[in-house]
Homo-oligomer: 230 residues x 2
DNA sequence: ATTTCTCCGATTGTTCAACAATCCGACGAT
DNA sequence: ATCGTCGGATTGTTGAACAATCGGAGAAAT
């Protein structure tokens, strides 16, 4: 260890970190930009990301791009093939089941724990957001409302770690299933489910809410498996 | 996207990746070395890690150390304070509860799903490993046997993603609770619990196994909260 | 014609050196 | 004792360089 009073220094540091104006590093901004392009479907699974190309496209150093790649690789959005380069992650055999296994674990656990009224209200808000998007025939909005819904469910647990796990899983799904969102009525069928789950949650019937959510996830996995070959 | 046949290339790449002799990059080895020192308790929470120092200590470039830091930061073992440096992660208010929230979610979910006989056998093996360590008065071994036990439980689900999440959580706990392992009989009290949980699992009584495991985790959280102030 | 071999170009992995930006602590002024 | 100011130290980022490695193109061999 270094200094014995590192404790005091870090305590101050933590307070400062909360107040500091967030000025993301260049590497973070590069990663954010790439994340955006991945979510938009501009970068399709399997595509290769060349360091030098991205470096000059974004006007940053190759080393910085490299750091951004490390971030994205840690989030599984990108895969590193040593000495060959980084590629946008592709769906491999078992990945769909794997992702849904994670979702079943954390979403069901979170909803079974209930949550503060404000957090339940956030779930309700996501449901209403979905209805509004449906009324406006906004398929894009329907998709993101659905993600907000499931994000809000995990947020019930109030765990920073579960939240980041969930957001990473959702990012993976955006990447993998982008194709599916083109299907006009893909998400529409989920609206009644969300409504029902939310109602049970609001009524405090957590067991029922959990069961409904579990059934929903199982059905969703089946559909995704059907759409994608694997 | 780049090339239209990126699919074929990546398919081959995946096959090659399975067969390739794993030659970790220098950055990976640096990260591994630091992970080791963190687990050993050589680097205590709050300690500062200076890029240049580590770079020359390990005989690598500063940029490489930087990449290693990125890995560790993604695993929450280390925290980056912009322009100030990286510090070994410290336990902050709510972290204990947060970690246990994650464990409850994924461990209970995994055990509720049962698992193949081989995977159940792995859980049993971890229990026996713990008994042997207890008989030999090997406290260090007791601690790692306990971690193997919980790792084996998560492995029941057969999910790569859950496995890596769990291994990261366990790494965090090793870091945070290193102090506790000094307490001679800290883990010993858990042996009967592990035995009981494992027996229920082997008997196929998954509900009971889940309940026992949940109770165990709740008790464990209480104890950790009692030992550490926060 | 298909396979194998060899070589070349392109890209990655890693290092090094430099510089601006930032932070921390010490010193000094009020 | 409080407040500025300054200087040293460390990080953030860049640019260039070089070895290692990979993939493909073409030549050679069957």
């Amino acid at each position: 260890m270094t200094t014995p009073d590192a404790a005091a220094g870090s305590a101050l540091g933590a307070a400062a970190a909360r107040l500091r104006v967030a000025v993301p590093s260049v590497a973070d901004r590069v990663a954010a930009e790439l994340r955006l392009q991945l979510a938009e479907g501009l970068l399709l699974p399997g595509a290769r990301l060349t360091e030098s190309t991205i470096a000059e496209d974004l006007g940053v150093s190759r080393n910085t791009v490299r750091e951004a790649f490390a971030e994205l690789a840690a989030e599984r959005l990108v895969v590193r093939h040593p000495n060959r380069g980084v590629f946008v992650a592709r769906l491999e055999a078992g990945d769909i089941h794997d992702v849904y296994t994670v979702r079943r674990a954390i979403e069901v656990s979170a909803i079974r724990g209930g949550g503060s009224p404000e957090r339940v209200a956030a779930v309700r808000a996501a449901v209403e957001e979905g209805k509004a998007a449906a009324a406006a025939n906004d398929e894009e909005g329907l998709g993101s409302a659905n993600q907000h819904f499931h994000g809000a469910i995990v947020a019930l647990a109030g765990s920073r770690r579960l939240d980041t796990i969930m957001s990473q899983v959702l990012a993976e799904m955006r990447l993998f299933f982008h194709k599916a969102t083109v299907d006009a009525h893909f998400y529409r069928g989920y609206l009644p489910d969300n409504e029902e789950i939310c109602t049970a949650l609001e009524a405090g019937d957590l067991d029922r809410a959990g069961e409904l959510l579990l059934a929903y996830l199982n059905r969703s996995e089946e559909r995704q498996a059907a759409v994608h070959g694997a």
